[in-house]
Subunit: 336 residues, 2 copies
């Protein structure tokens, strides 16, 4: 017998929907030069942020994004009751170090690039459940920390595969409050891990498309919604290659006429040489905490389904020949 707030297989519906009262995004130069550059709070001048290493730069970018979201409500870090955060670095050190400096009680998450929707899902449950009244959910990625951890030494200048994506240098943070005005979280679907048998680390979009569509299908079925219920269903970072596969799977699975796009496709211009598109935890985090929530606030979007997508591999297990399991969590955000 399921919990009383559960609907169908994997979806929960909130009785006291948490409100997104503030949000912030900080991005790198390349993301700032893209089509949404004016929609982010801060565009950094470079990738090192005045620090000694890219890893330190990433953690300070994430910390600054969280502080900025809180400042919009005139809160200091100590006013937040809980921080839910994750990133792509081994042992999520960007989040760990940000949580250390901010001194906010902390639950670390790892969902690869699905982290923004994982944090919103968990945060909404912990607020609606009556445990906390002010929760920050945040995620980051950094192009150069990811390149050297997942791929090749940056200085080596290895030619990229056509299907490869560009890890975004970006962070997004959302402040959830139990009262206040703004877009609210109506429901969330916790994803299952789906493995399409794909083993190419340079084609994450194809690996993740199955998980994205599985979660979207489950969400719509669980809530008995038509495919076009949402003004926008946006996946995290399938890129052009993965989005095309997702569109095929929509047809296969009978999802009719979804208003669909992907943050990895949206984040950059065609001219920016990003291969199949953007990726990384920061990709959907900054698109949500920049253009998308602004569009909700402006009334351009009423109903958004954020479906951040994560490829759950590690370099070592991929080198051992294993396929790339993937996950996606869906968060339904609506405007009052």
């Amino acid at each position: 017998m399921p919990g009383r707030k559960k609907r169908g297989q994997q979806t929960v519906v909130f009785e006291n929907p948490p409100t997104i009262t503030a949000w912030a995004s900080v991005v790198g130069p390349k993301e700032g030069a893209g089509p949404w550059g004016a929609e982010f709070d801060v565009v950094m001048d470079d990738y090192i942020f005045g620090e000694k290493t890219w890893e330190i730069a990433e953690y300070k970018m994430l910390r600054g994004t969280i502080e900025r979201a809180l400042e919009k409500r005139n809160f200091r870090p100590e006013d937040a009751e809980l921080l839910l955060a994750g990133d792509l670095l081994n042992q999520i050190v960007a989040s760990n170090f940000a949580a250390r400096d901010l001194e906010i009680p902390f639950l670390g998450l790892y969902g690869a690039c699905s982290t923004m929707s994982e944090g919103l899902t968990v945060g909404a449950m912990l607020m609606d459940g009556g445990y906390f009244d002010r929760i920050v959910a945040a995620a980051s990625s950094h192009h150069y920390t990811a390149e050297r951890q997942y791929r090749f030494p940056t200085e080596q200048g290895v030619q990229k595969s056509q299907t490869a994506q560009w890890t975004a240098t970006a962070a997004g943070a959302v402040l959830l409050e139990s009262r206040g005005s703004g877009p609210y979280i109506k429901a969330a679907t916790v994803g299952k891990v789906i493995d399409m048998g794909q083993t190419d680390m340079a084609d994450m979009g194809s690996a993740m498309a199955g998980a994205a569509v599985h979660t979207i299908k489950t969400h719509l079925d669980d809530l008995n919604l038509p495919g076009n219920y949402y003004d926008l269903i946006v996946t995290g970072d399938l890129g052009k290659v993965g989005s095309a596969i997702a569109s095929q799977l929509f047809v296969r699975d009978g999802i009719v006429n979804p208003n669909y796009s992907d943050c990895g496709v949206l984040l950059y211009d065609q001219s920016q040489a990003v291969g199949s598109g953007g990726s990384g935890c920061g990709c959907s985090a900054c698109m949500l905490c920049g253009p998308l929530l602004k569009k909700m606030q402006n009334g351009e979007l009423q109903k958004l389904l954020l479906v951040s997508t994560g490829a759950l591999m590690s370099p070592i297990i991929s080198f051992q020949g294993e396929s790339i399991p993937s996950i996606a969590h869906a968060v339904a955000i609506e405007m009052y």
Copy 2:
């Protein structure tokens, strides 16, 4: 204004306390040869488990532990509504692959060796909050996957520091249900990240002691409990070195007469050449899901505070000279 189930600074108290209806533990040969060998469900014959790599062995150990916990209630994996799991591997691939095979909706956690209490904390909130009725919380570590990832190639045979600990090969899984009999989760304290300025990767216990005592102190203060309220306060993996520091900090912080021990001290015999003691997510996970919950069931323990402890570093950021931030979450488990 805090959530209605929050007490003090960082603690939540459950209105409908989730019950631990079943649990399971699987350990490696060295853990099986220690003082609690007979208390674990399975002691593996070797570290490779018939697989090609240690990483695959770890994920199958974790998967098997989860299946075993479910079987004790005659459940199959599809009967579980949610899996909360994490491990020490980069990108928590042991948990990701276990979640893939089990097909249970999955939220990945990263709290380093604090993962068992992080999973129980989040799981108890998500059950008490009314979202799910059957949740599995699980964690694992494997000596040989951890050695080569965090330290040195195993074949190199590097001499260990006196303060170094032995990463346990072990997994533990707990089944939470909203009804049923067994030990129940009464309250939980979400930790803050505490940094004692320690930079020695071969002395994690010293790095984590501050976080452990901060969380224990906060828990007791938040609930207005005396230091000797619990029959046992057990930290995750401070080892002998870290436990001694914790005992000093108890005095400093006015925690009077705690019945205190550490899973890293308990797990092995003095003769087993484990340096300062056991460590790893599996250390507190197997001690909880072997001897400790059995002692609760038998009536030997009535009130247990599990305080799994995590060192939130990564090799790369430690090589860059940063200190080791740490965290601990406390879970109050009592017997009806």
